[in-house]
């Protein structure tokens, strides 16, 4: 990582466009301070005529591509930095078969995550399933066990839902304090998409669930045969078997061709590459509900079957990647963010500018749907002063997002999963944004 001093930035700002390009070239890898620099250089700051307006532009004086150049369209080449990112520290020895990639939340608009940017966690690599060979078996405590091909499954009546998927380890690196200076790594283990498939209840009504069935095993067909136990009560409420993501086939990384969808619950429970559903009277004890995805408390005992992702929120502008370095005193600017709850629907979000001492109400905007990302907004007159900016969400189950201190007083520091406490961005005098935590720690002697 190159470290660029503030002095360097000043001189670069005063030079012309050509030297700005050189500056970009010289800086192969951008540190967060370099990102801030890029924003400082916006042409808006120059008083001279803008060559982009005065002269004809390249793309206006040449013939464009043939429209069928990309039968499946791709983003503008200029967007190449809008990608999922990984860290070897969030994997075994940098092994990217069992690891996690993070959604670039700082680059997303609205509440839909494009399929190529959906966060991904795999336990034995991304499986590539031949849809012609795909089979789904539903059996156990049912009257009429069945096997379905993909085509048969897709004949069931479809419903679509906007739903978030979140890894319960989202933010797990930060129980003991902030470690990453980026929105992407602080909260990027989640995404939101429109999922289409059939309600599991629709199928079960036909094949008949026996009254003794209390639990369902959902098993994947990837190398690790990733599986989880789900209570039947959830299955009958809002569980779905889905085959489409934002209008097209589910991506391999998200479980092509079919995955389980348990709205609001741990993404790990929404088993990918779904192969088998078995109904039983007793739970199964899979690796991912014993060794992992259990939350160890200070008592030495651990919570198991820890399903719902609790009410949560994060401010997406400003953030470390998208700072306020180009604002001047008096500018009116929108503070924006995302709120979500696996327990229900977001009812409101409060914003604090002083690290949680005082709050004001933000406005919700766009679609407000259960177990889906909900956007919030707050108009703010920038004063050019340091801020500690926070958001705190509430849901219709009556839950309010806890502070770091409140959450850890109960959950301790070693539980790994389900961290939903309030996040804080420190906006410094220069408009740069930094990940900090407002918390009270006590080191018992």
């Amino acid at each position: 990582m190159s470290n660029i001093s503030e002095n360097n930035l000043e001189t670069t700002t005063n030079k012309e466009q050509s030297s700005r390009r050189d500056f970009f070239k010289r800086t192969a890898a951008y540190s967060v301070s370099a990102i801030a620099a890029a924003n400082l250089l916006a042409p808006v700051k120059l008083s001279a005529d803008d060559a982009n307006i005065i002269n004809h532009v390249e793309w206006g004086t040449t013939l464009g591509d043939e429209l069928n150049k990309y039968p499946y369209g791709i983003p503008s080449a200029y967007e190449h930095n809008v990608v999922r990112r990984t860290s070897s520290l969030l994997s075994s020895a940098g092994d990217m078969h069992a690891a996690v990639s993070m959604t670039p939340l700082h680059e997303l608009e609205g509440i839909i995550t494009p399929n190529g940017l959906h966060f991904t966690r795999t336990h034995n690599g991304v499986a590539h399933i031949d849809p012609n060979k795909y089979r789904l078996m539903i059996h156990g405590l049912v009257e009429k066990p069945i096997v379905l091909t993909l085509e048969q499954l897709k004949k069931y009546p479809a419903e679509s839902r906007l739903l978030f998927l979140e890894c319960p380890a989202n933010g797990a690196a930060e129980w003991k304090g902030p470690q990453f200076n980026s929105l992407q790594f602080v909260k990027g283990m989640m995404s939101n998409a429109e999922w289409t498939g059939v309600r599991l209840k629709t199928i079960l009504d036909e094949i008949g669930l026996k009254p003794t069935a209390k639990w369902m095993l959902a098993e994947g067909s990837d190398g690790s045969e990733m599986s989880r136990t789900v209570p039947v009560e959830k299955v009958l409420d809002d569980a779905m078997i889905v085959w489409a993501q934002n209008g097209e086939a589910i991506r391999p990384e998200q479980g092509y061709p079919v995955r389980l969808m348990l709205p609001g619950w741990e993404a790990n429970l929404c088993v990918k590459w779904l192969k088998r559903l078995e109904f039983g009277a007793e739970p199964w004890y899979c690796k991912e509900e014993t060794s992992k995805y259990t939350a160890l408390m200070a008592s030495g005992k651990a919570i198991q079957h820890y399903y719902p992702l609790e009410v949560n929120s994060i401010i997406t502008t400003p953030c470390p990647e998208k700072p306020w370095s180009d604002l001047k005193k008096g500018d009116m600017v929108e503070v924006e963010g995302i709120a979500w709850s696996g327990h229900g629907t977001i009812t409101g979000v409060d914003i604090s500018l002083d690290g949680g001492n005082n709050y004001v109400e933000a406005k919700l905007k766009g679609l407000v749907l259960p177990k889906s990302w909900t956007r919030f907004s707050y108009m703010y007159k920038y004063e050019g002063k340091p801020l500690l900016i926070q958001s705190r969400a509430m849901d219709d189950a009556g839950f309010v997002q806890p502070s770091v201190t409140q959450e850890k007083a109960i959950m301790g520091l070693e539980g790994v999963y389900h961290r939903n406490s309030i996040c804080t961005w420190e906006v410094r005098q220069d408009g740069s944004v930094h990940n900090v935590q407002v918390r009270t720690d006590n080191c018992p002697k």
């Binding site: 078969h97 066990p145 045969e225 007793e282 001492n357």
Partner: protein
């Protein structure tokens, strides 16, 4: 990685008091009750919504009958046998077979030690399988220098069935589902013995479908709510009824809620790929060219160990490491790749590869490391 700052011991008590005092009184408009027909009765402590009059919250839903929608067919007995292969805590699904811990050790050294370390002791960046303790589960790293809880099979896992099931389905990592029942028992026996798990107070020497059911894991009682038996689901419901159980203790205070300390990043983790950037420019032209067959095979069978040097394998792209290996001459290096050497299993464990294919892959690896 984070160092706790001792100066952070702040106004804790008073701040917390203030928070609870100002709690509640929601001033935001509640959701319209005719749209969101919510009842707080979900198993997980949340709400459920009614599907009524063609609506489910803000969604319209098709409320025509779906009765008679019926696709697929019944699975055959053999299909059920092939797929209904999970292993449950009561021993349901255990294969018939047996294996000794000593045989498991030999197998472990060959197939697993390269990632999980000798005796399962870790140290290679992959999960540690042995060596934890029940006492360590109470560890909290709330002060500098404190040790982490050590969650391993013997110290943490509640059921032995999980282990043999996982070994059967998911391991060896690069060739899942390749073990015979005897090998599964041998490997399970070995890992349990190394993890200090006993049967009737004695070290495990041999495991089979009968004595397996006698294993009681040391931390079996370490998990809650209790999900077993006819009350299982009700225990789960009771657990979620109390928000204190799972940290759902946030309160809505609007003013003078209390000030707390600010903790900044101690050692920032910057090892991210690709490096952070929000610049919008044209990407550097990358050397294009179709992915060769050898590269595909490499990705499938060799990359797992050769992508980095974490396991002692010469990493592809590491010029020095490959120059050193090539010092022996191409023939010897090919021979080693085919027959194995040190931590390198014969053909990287992919026994379905022909010798010629392995040689092609080695050529690709060498050329990619110049």
């Amino acid at each position: 990685m984070i160092k706790l700052n001792n100066k952070l011991i702040a106004i804790a008590a008073s701040a917390l008091l203030a928070t609870t005092m100002f709690a509640a009184e929601g001033t935001t408009k509640p959701l319209p009750a005719n749209v969101y027909k919510a009842t707080k009765n979900a198993l997980d402590g949340g709400v459920t919504y009614k599907r009524e009059n063609g609506a489910y919250t803000a969604y319209r839903v098709n409320d025509q009958s779906t009765k008679g929608v019926n696709f697929g067919r019944a699975p055959t007995a053999n299909e059920l046998k092939a797929w209904d292969a999970d292993i449950m805590p009561d021993g349901t699904g255990l294969p018939v077979g047996s294996g000794t811990a000593d045989d498991g050790e030999t197998l472990y050294d060959k197939d697993c030690a390269v990632c999980h370390g000798e005796f399962g002791a870790g140290g290679k960046g992959y999960p540690t399988l042995t060596g934890g303790s029940l006492e360590s589960l109470k560890n909290q790293r709330d002060c500098p220098g404190k040790e982490a809880p050590n969650r391993t099979i013997g110290s943490y896992w509640p059921k032995a069935s999980t282990l043999i099931w996982y070994i059967r389905d998911a391991m060896p990592y690069a060739h899942p589902k390749s073990y015979s029942p005897d090998q599964m028992y041998a490997m399970t026996a070995y890992l349990l013995r190394e993890g200090g798990v006993q049967i009737d107070g004695k070290d495990i020497e041999e495991l089979n479908q009968d004595n397996f059911k006698k294993i009681v894991m040391p931390n079996e009682k370490g998990f809650y709510p209790n999900i077993d038996g006819p009350k299982g689901v009700e225990n789960v419901r009771a657990f979620y009824k109390n928000p204190k159980n799972f940290g759902a203790v946030g309160t809505r205070c609007m003013s003078n809620c209390g000030k707390e300390s600010v903790m900044k990043i101690g050692n920032e983790i910057t090892a991210v790929v690709p490096a952070y950037s929000t610049v919008r420019d044209l990407p550097k032209e990358e050397a294009k060219g179709a992915v060769s067959e050898a590269q595909k095979l490499y990705e499938k069978s060799c990359a797992v160990c050769h992508k980095t040097d974490a396991m002692g394998a010469p990493a592809v792209g590491d010029k020095g490491a490959w120059e050193k290996a090539m010092g022996k001459g191409m023939d010897k290096v090919n021979h080693n790749a085919i027959n194995g050497v040190g931590g390198m299993p014969p053909k990287g464990g992919a026994m379905d590869l022909s010798d010629a294919q392995v040689k092609d892959i080695v050529k690709f690896m060498v050329e990619s490391s110049k």
